[in-house]
Amino acid sequence: MSDSVFTQLLDLACGAFLLTAVVVLWRRELSVIVDVFALQGVALATVPLLIGWHEGRWDLAAVAAGIAVLRAGILPHLMRRALTATTAPPHADEDEDDGASYGTNGPYGTASWDRTDGAHSPERTDRTDGTHRYRADAGEARETQPLVNVAASLLTAALLTLLAYAVSRPLIALDPSPATRALPVGLAVVLIGFFVLTTRRRALSQVVGFLLLDNGITAIAFLATSGVPLIVELGVSFDVLLAVLVLQILTTRMRTAFGTTDLDDLRELHD
């Protein structure tokens, strides 16, 4: 592959990478955010693929495939599961059986069960066969007022991009090449991910922010040095996967305990 074609394709992939991060800031519906994150995983996987193709290293192609499977497949799937769990009516977890048991009969619950820790119950509508059916909570499916409103967040994202360009000048100067010239994109996504993590109110948005952070760091790793050693990459991927699993379970528990995944309600522990 010639140098100019490689540069163009790499720039396109990085541009798409940054654009998906911006769209995550822009949109409010959590399902759209998760889908856009999956697209970002595809864009991220293209980067090592292109670099491997250009340098003739086929192990990078395998790494690209792994990244695509993890970040465009498994992680969005886990997040969609968390989303359906939090927009469905709150019911007892099926993965724990010690402690208080809620005696559920499937996803819509029986007519009577005990709540021991003060979560509010959503509305009920009766069905004709006598069981109660809970209406899915649409308010959970979208990001409510974030800490910084959308317009201001977008402008902040612009500032963060400029900051990323300024900060990464010494990094590019160390080893100028088409790949390292795209480093600011990775750093911008890291900063945007951190911003999403700190200013969003829904639990799932925080998870997306953390994953944006991680995607950005992986992009920097590939653009700067064609990736970290394989064992480290495996360790990192495994850790991220487990972290998202843990967060997914915690989101479900949060919904059960608090009745909502709004992080502003996490106010029990303070000094």
């Binding site: 540069t7 163009q8 720039d11 396109l12 990085c14 541009g15 798409a16 940054l18 654009l19 911006v22 822009w26 409103n149 959308v150 317009a151 201001a152 977008l154 402008l155 994202a157 612009a158 991009t161 400029l162 360009y165 088409p178 010239r181 795209a182 600011p184 994109v185």
Partner: protein, 317 residues
């Protein structure tokens, strides 16, 4: 100062002024057909203008020169912009002065004139429409400037014909992240500037949801015809700008009459196609609530800013 160049400028302005109602008619017809209606025909806007021009001019009491001057000023500024933007040819006598900032300033002048007219009427709806229009304009003007500026960085100048010629010679620039981001940003900005869905519904009759229409509620007769023509011409000019920047093939770069004629025909075809696509898309979109409009526009501003930064830093071009 060639004759062909002068003819090209004149032809551009004439085609825009006379062809705009056709474009509007086409868009309404496409929309009607998609919605399952028969539609009023492509020539209906011409018939409407003919009807309006024959009516008696009426001016509300208490309005001043701002109200009277606005329609003519709107049409005039848009016509001058149509002359400057390289729609059919980049080798015209005015090419040297056809600066991006001048074109955006002319379009802004038209908006401001209309907003002042809306305020001048002293009605509640006029003021409401004027303030909403200025809010949108305040967010859109920087976006248009930045989006075209992103394309001007590789060309090294903000002269529009030079930018278009640069894009003609190096089409790969358009497929770069800067080009794509600038396209997206400019498309959203054009929608906002011309008052189309999702920012404003041009065919609404509910005053409280109006942005552009509320400013012109008090116009009647020939003034109304001019105002409508001016608004439609802005759409044509902006769609033409979009087409010239991002699909410049067919624009004449030399002084040959045949090339200019071809350029005009292709310009008409491109704008008609863009208009049809826009009308078809509008069938599926809903108008965004007014307080969400700044979000949409901030997003397009960010895209334009990212286009500028990536054309500075990426690719080394």
């Amino acid at each position: 100062m060639s004759g062909v160049g002068v003819a090209a400028v004149a032809a551009q302005v004439l085609v825009v002024v006379l062809g705009t109602p056709l474009l509007t008619g086409l868009m309404r017809q496409v929309r009607a057909r998609m919605e399952g209606r028969a539609g009023a025909g492509v020539a209906q806007p011409w018939r409407d203008m003919r009807k309006l021009l024959r009516k008696t001019p009426v001016t509300p009491t208490g309005t001043g020169p701002a109200f009277r001057v606005a329609p003519a000023l709107l049409v005039a500024t848009t016509a001058v912009a149509a002359a400057l933007v390289p729609l059919a040819s980049t080798a015209t006598p005015v090419s040297g002065e056809a600066d991006l900032i001048l074109v955006v300033a002319l379009l802004a002048l038209g908006s401001v004139a209309l907003a002042l007219a809306g305020l001048d009427t002293g009605t509640a709806f006029g003021g409401m429409g004027a303030s909403r229009e200025m809010t949108v304009a305040a967010l859109v003007e920087p976006t248009i400037l930045l989006a075209v500026f992103a394309l001007s960085i590789p060309a090294g100048t903000t002269n529009l014909p030079r930018i278009v010629e640069g894009a003609l010679h190096e089409p790969a620039r358009l497929a770069s992240p800067a080009g794509l981001l600038a396209t997206a940003a400019l498309a959203v900005a054009v929608l906002a500037e011309t008052g189309r869905i999702p920012v404003d519904n041009p065919s609404t009759h509910l005053e409280l949801t109006m942005v552009h229409e509320a400013m012109v509620l008090e116009y009647a007769g020939p003034d109304l015809a001019l105002v409508e023509l001016g608004a439609q011409m802005r759409l044509t000019v902006l769609l033409g700008l979009l087409a010239s920047l991002f699909a410049p093939w067919g624009i004449a770069t030399g002084a040959s009459a045949a090339a200019v004629a071809l350029g005009l025909v292709l310009f008409a075809a491109k704008v008609a196609m863009l208009g049809a696509v826009l009308a078809a898309a509008e069938v599926f979109w809903a108008k965004v609530r007014l307080f969400r409009v700044p979000e949409l526009l901030a997003g397009s501003f960010l895209l334009a800013l990212l286009a500028v930064t990536s054309s500075y830093f990426l690719g080394g071009v």
